[in-house]
């Protein structure tokens, strides 16, 4: 067994082991162990990224039992991209939470509510384990189990935000479980006609199937279930309360990577598990339509918020729309030798990866300001930027990524999406991208501009207090996200090469 194969297993199991161990430790040790494990996980991501860069797909047969009986882990391009992004977001957020424990939630001490929550650590490490398991899994039922691990820990991470977060957490739980059950029902349908759970074998079995109704029904169930978990409009209403009530260190994880886990599973089902089935186009067009609606409605709703975290959460709803706008283009056939769908697919992944980094930065910044000023009402945050020039600079860089201006992955993604749309002669996509970009410029300006205003901060306001060294370190975390947003914009071509490894075409 090679070290890369070892890493595939370790990426899923090491954080789980650490989650178990942190439960036995006091709070300060939990923080130290959390940082150590985050660095180790990033270390195990490196060999997987390396082997995919050299064009190699790594496969690990767990327990030595071949599919369909056993489970295969596959480190392909899609997995590598999201492993990398998750490691980046994970390491920075872990560091942020370790430096500023009050960003990890609120718990009841013997007498009163205290900010900081020891329960953050096992839950977050467990969540990370589930995320890595989702990216690597090559088995439909295992995808369900991994998604549930992510869902359960995500719900619990919202709930550690204190009393006001319990209702959003419960609402999130209902939707997350309902979505997974629909996914499981779809998987059951597929297994009934294919006799296997392995992604690749499912595809080859379905290729032989003549009647397309059942795979189509299964795909519909799977898509509806996962769209709930991704929070595609009109199933987005759980997202805003959950992501804005979550603790400051949790919102970036939820908006940055947790919803991407469901997106990855959706891509695995659409592109890997199922061959092109007649009737799939209708479903793709429906998703595309909902995506357009999400871009427009999400942006308009973001414009109407008067608090920072809900604004950033609605911006997530809008950005989710772009990924689904790409769906009708994914199924387009050959064009000049290469499948046209691959361009849309590259664009989709670039948009999702870019969003993960930029949104994690913006949510960390919003949470930072909320923790420092005691509120995230934008009227109360006027002039808050004066004390935090680094933070404002970093927020600006993240905003560039969300807007899709050069240089950023957001730009690469929108460019590839637009190119694919032109190739397929779907001009409406260009209109949507343009309208979405203008609207996002408006709401990002609305969110960031008040911070820059010259305003008299009252002497006794918490925002006027001296900035402690730890808080400066927290600002550095946002700066790393900002720099990464711009820096990854240079990696667009590399991303395309990565995604070719183990692709479905």
């Amino acid at each position: 067994m090679t070290f890369t194969q070892f890493s595939l297993g370790a990426l899923a199991l090491l954080p789980l082991l650490a989650a178990a161990l942190t439960m036995l430790l006091p709070h300060p040790v939990r923080r130290a162990l959390g940082v150590l494990v985050a660095l180790l996980v990033a270390g195990f991501t490196a060999p997987v990224l390396g082997s995919v860069t050299s064009g190699e797909l790594t496969e690990l047969v767990l327990g030595g039992f071949d599919a369909p009986l056993g489970i295969h882990l596959r480190g392909d391009g899609l997995a590598a991209v999201f492993l990398g992004v998750t490691s980046l977001v994970g390491v920075v957020v872990t560091g942020y939470a370790a430096v500023l424990p009050k960003s990890t939630g609120a718990h009841l001490s013997a007498t009163s509510w205290v900010t900081s929550h020891p329960g953050f650590w096992p839950l977050w490490l467990g969540c990370w384990s589930g995320l890595n398991a989702v990216y690597l899994s090559g088995d439909l039922f295992n995808l369900y189990v991994s998604l549930e691990l992510v869902g359960l820990t995500a719900v619990a991470l919202v709930a550690v935000g204190g009393q006001s977060a319990w209702e959003p957490a419960l609402r999130y739980l209902f939707i997350a479980v309902l979505g997974s059950l629909m996914f499981l029902a779809g998987v059951g349908l597929l297994a009934a006609v294919t006799g296997t759970l392995d992604l690749h074998q499912t595809r080859s079995q379905l290729d032989e199937l003549e009647d397309p109704t059942l795979p189509l029904l299964a795909l519909t169930l799977i898509t509806v279930g996962l769209a709930m978990k991704v929070a595609l409009l009109p199933m987005h209403r759980w997202l805003v309360p959950a992501h804005s009530a979550a603790p400051s260190a949790v919102s970036p994880i939820l908006s940055g990577v947790v919803i991407k886990a469901a997106l990855v599973v959706l891509l695995r089902c659409w592109l890997w598990a199922l061959p092109a089935v007649p009737g799939m186009q209708w479903l793709a067009w429906l998703l595309g339509g909902l995506g357009v609606a999400a871009v427009l409605v999400g942006s308009v709703l973001a414009l109407r918020q008067d608090r920072l975290k809900p604004l950033v959460a609605y911006s997530t709803v809008a950005q989710i729309g772009y990924w689904f706008v790409a769906f009708p283009l994914l199924l387009h056939g050959e064009h000049d030798g290469a499948p046209l769908g691959s361009g849309a697919y590259n664009g989709l992944v670039a948009l999702a990866a870019g969003h993960a980094i930029a949104k994690a930065g913006l949510f960390t910044a919003a949470g930072f300001l909320k923790d420092r000023c005691g509120t995230d009402k934008m009227s109360a945050l006027r002039g808050a930027g004066a004390h935090h020039p680094v933070l404002i600079l970093a927020m600006g860089m993240c905003a560039v990524g969300l807007l899709g201006l050069p240089i950023s992955l957001g730009f690469t993604g929108k460019w590839q999406l637009a190119t694919a749309a032109v190739g397929a002669e779907q001009w409406w996509v260009l209109l949507v991208v343009a309208a979405g970009t203008l609207l996002s410029a408006a709401y990002l300006l609305r969110g960031i501009a008040p911070l820059l205003l010259q305003a008299e901060v009252p002497e006794n306001a918490p925002a006027a207090g001296p900035v402690r060294g730890r808080e400066r370190l927290g600002e550095i975390a946002v700066l790393i996200f900002g720099v990464a947003t711009i820096g990854t914009g240079l990696l667009g071509a590399w991303l395309g090469d990565l995604l070719e490894v183990g692709a479905w075409w």
Partner: protein, 323 residues
């Protein structure tokens, strides 16, 4: 004969489903759900899935539904229980739309189901061929702890983290209080109502029987129906019974609950690591020591499941974390 039985059972399941979905009172709802669990366990026996029936009876009905009934008894009538979420005008609209949409979907789905050209699973033969390598004789245990051990590991992680989550919702975020090493769950809550002496005695008499049953389910699992999950549920029931009979379990809770909770997952991962150390893939058991590995993992998993389910009960029973 069998058709009549199946028809009757299915109709009964549907009626009880309707009751548990549509009842106005929380108590009726949760009681119907409990009955539904029993009926479904019988259905699973009919479908010759003894293991699933056992799991359903132990975890699903025995523990979970009982907890829901208990929740319903504790807070029977919150505002607006059982009512639809609806505006005052067109009160009938939502239920009607729901009913129509549900019926249409059912007909469509059922039509596809029935027409589908089923194919039997492709894993039947390899499963039988490789079962001897796993060290166990019961195929379901073989699947859970060898062929698809990874699923089981992630799933026990889910249960462990559920316990972590409910502990996190308790006072002090589930951490021990200072130097006392006491788990701060259920330490300072209101006094329990007095329990009749007979109940207390009955609980004490019943507990050894439950523990025996739990252990039998655990060790039977390698050759016959049963296994970690069923056994853990029965053992957790024994603990809950002791707790309700006001046996003092605080030392156990403080010292042993969390180590037991994580022990199963830790040992499972470490056992999975033995394979890579020998140059094999993750989670491989060599036939020579496979039985030992599976047994150790199963015993500790059982302890973890017991602790996890008991922690759920404690968190549910104890309203702390609010005030």
């Amino acid at each position: 004969m069998s058709t009549v039985l199946d028809l009757g059972l299915g109709v009964a399941v549907l009626i009880v489903t309707g009751l548990s979905l549509l009842a106005r009172s929380r108590l009726v709802m949760s009681m119907s759900f409990l009955v539904l669990g029993v009926l479904v366990a019988i259905v699973w026996l009919r479908l010759s899935s003894l293991d699933v029936a056992l799991a359903e009876a132990a975890i699903g009905t025995g523990l979970l539904s009982a907890l829901l009934v208990w929740l319903a008894v504790r807070s029977p009538l919150p505002p607006g229980a059982g009512r639809m979420e609806t505006s005052h005008r067109l009160r009938w609209l939502r239920p009607a739309v729901g009913l129509v949409a549900g019926t249409v979907l059912t007909v469509v789905t059922a039509a596809v189901w029935v027409r589908a050209d089923h194919r039997l699973p492709a894993w039947g033969e390899p499963a039988q061929a490789q079962l001897p390598d796993t060290g166990v004789e019961h195929p379901i245990t073989g699947v859970l702890l060898a062929f698809r051990a990874y699923d089981t590991l992630l799933e026990s992680g889910i249960l462990m983290l559920t316990a972590a989550a409910v502990l996190a919702l308790s006072r002090r975020g589930g951490l021990s209080a200072g130097s006392t090493h006491q788990l701060s769950i259920h330490q300072a809550s209101a006094a329990l109502p007095p329990v009749p002496a007979t109940l207390s005695w009955a609980a004490r008499m019943l507990t050894p029987a439950l523990v025996l049953l739990g252990l039998w389910l655990l060790f039977a699992g390698s050759t016959d129906s049963g296994g970690a999950f069923q056994s853990g549920a029965v053992l957790a029931a024994a603990l809950i019974l002791l707790h309700c009979a006001q046996v003092d379990l605080r030392v156990f809770q403080a010292r042993w609950l969390r180590p037991l909770l994580v022990g199963g997952v830790v040992v499972f991962v470490l056992a999975g690591l033995v394979g890579p150390l020998l140059g094999l893939p993750w989670l491989s058991w060599e036939p020579e020591w496979a039985f030992a590995a599976v047994l150790v993992v199963e015993v500790l998993l059982t302890a973890g499941i017991t602790a996890g389910l008991y922690a759920l009960f404690l968190a549910l029973e104890n309203p702390e974390g609010v005030r």
